[in-house]
């Protein structure tokens, strides 16, 4: 009897060979990996144009082996619209944090969805502003301490967390809007499937697609990488329920 060696997993094609600047254990990296894997599987790398945000993922373009542009803070959906309208046959996606998408970029994301722009949005919800050093985000949990809510978010003064997936699912232009989490293997697998469906939505011209991903920020949460994942499971999921908020009928039939 001979034995053959099977390659179970290797680094995706759509990645460059660059060491990322993300903090150890930050699940921005997982989100990146899933996007790269999906684009590999769909064979879209050479057709794709990514739009990087301003946020910790500002350098995303260093890590993906594909054309990329760098948007102004919050404006990625507008920039993606500008691109997609003149290059309708390209795959265009934005990658945005919660400050970028839900705070300064609220108008742009809402209207991109309302217009039914055929773009895919990967929305990283880590309940905080990572890049600038841990200020409050619109998604920050009530009572959560940040550098701009030092006593914990006081909902009376600073308001309540915004649930973007629920809100955007109200817009008729949206074809696929779901929330997933990156805190363990099972959820990571579900997240990947969702990202696949988002790009399938775009491929089929079914309108705007967004995958909201609950993601960790060990550094600004001041937790270890693993503790941060537990924080997602225990603290974030209850406030941001995982689930499908809008799924275009055509997609339901789809097997991926």
């Amino acid at each position: 009897m001979v034995a053959t060696t099977e390659l179970i997993y290797q680094r995706p094609e759509s990645f460059t060979d660059v060491h990322t600047h993300y903090c150890p254990g930050c699940t921005h990296g997982v989100a990146h990996r899933l996007i790269a894997e999906v684009l590999d599987e769909m064979g879209l790398r050479e057709n794709t144009i990514g739009v990087a945000p301003v946020g910790c993922s500002v350098f995303a373009y260093r890590y993906f082996k594909m054309d990329f542009v760098e948007a102004a803070h919050g404006r990625a959906p507008a920039m993606a619209t500008g691109i997609k309208r003149v290059l309708p046959n390209n795959t265009v996606f934005t990658y945005q944090g919660d400050g970028d998408l839900a705070s300064i970029g609220m108008a742009e994301i809402m209207h991109a969805a309302a217009r039914g722009e055929n773009i895919s949005v990967i929305f990283i919800n880590n309940a905080i502003y990572g890049m600038t050093g841990g200020q409050m985000a619109p998604t920050t949990l009530p009572g959560m301490k940040t550098t701009s809510s030092p006593l914990g978010r006081d909902v009376e003064l600073a308001g309540y967390p915004i649930r973007m997936s629920e809100i955007i699912s109200n817009l008729d232009g949206a074809g696929y809007v779901v929330r997933r989490s990156l805190h363990n293997p099972a959820n990571i697998r579900k997240a990947k499937k969702a990202i696949r469906l988002a790009f399938e939505t775009q491929q089929r011209g079914l309108g705007f697609s967004m995958v909201e991903l609950l993601s960790s920020c060990p550094t600004n949460w001041k937790l270890s990488a693993q503790e941060a994942l537990d924080f997602i499971a225990e603290k974030m999921v209850p406030v941001f329920p995982l689930g499908d908020y809008k799924v275009h009928p055509t997609l339901e039939s789809l097997k991926v």
Partner: protein, 161 residues
């Protein structure tokens, strides 16, 4: 005493910025002019953090300097980065706990001390940075040691006590 420029450099977690602040507080207490300026930006970028401290009897113009009088290098990258730009006859104190190479420049006064090791021995593993400061003051007494000690005690974060 005329203007003395000091750069303290090391990994993010090594307390380089704090060491500089202790010097700055001490200088102020001692009635000197002083500026402290960090390398700033999102910590998460990792890599080395450094700060520049300028101590003087006169009002300080530039808070930045090209060729520092003194460099405290808490890790190897810092030694590599600063060894060549130290002023002639300047001082280099390097933390030999994190590397083992010789200092090539001869005309500067260099001192290698195993700061981490010493700090652990005296049971204050977090204070490697201050060990370096102490060593520096021994070589270049710009401030009395007790003044620095005092400002350390006053400003050290609770959790480090």
């Amino acid at each position: 005493m005329e203007e003395t420029s000091i750069i303290i450099s090391g990994f993010g977690g090594q307390g380089t910025l704090f060491a500089g602040q202790v010097l700055a507080y001490a200088s102020m207490e001692h009635g000197l002019e002083v500026t402290w300026i960090p390398s700033y930006g999102p910590e998460m970028r990792g890599g080395t953090a450094h700060c520049t401290v300028i101590v003087s009897e006169e009002p300080i113009g530039s808070p930045l300097v090209r060729n520092p009088d003194v460099v405290l290098a808490l890790n190897l990258p810092s030694v590599d980065k600063y060894e060549d730009i130290i002023k002639e006859n300047g001082v280099l104190v390097a933390n030999s706990s994190l590397f083992n190479r010789q200092i090539t420049r001869q005309e500067i006064n260099s001192l290698l001390i195993p700061a981490n090791k010493i700090a652990e021995e005296i049971g204050m593993s977090r204070l490697g940075n201050m060990i370096m400061v102490g060593a520096m003051l021994a070589m270049k007494p710009i401030l009395p040691l007790d003044v620095v000690k005092k400002s350390l005690e006053e400003h050290i974060p609770e959790r480090h006590k």
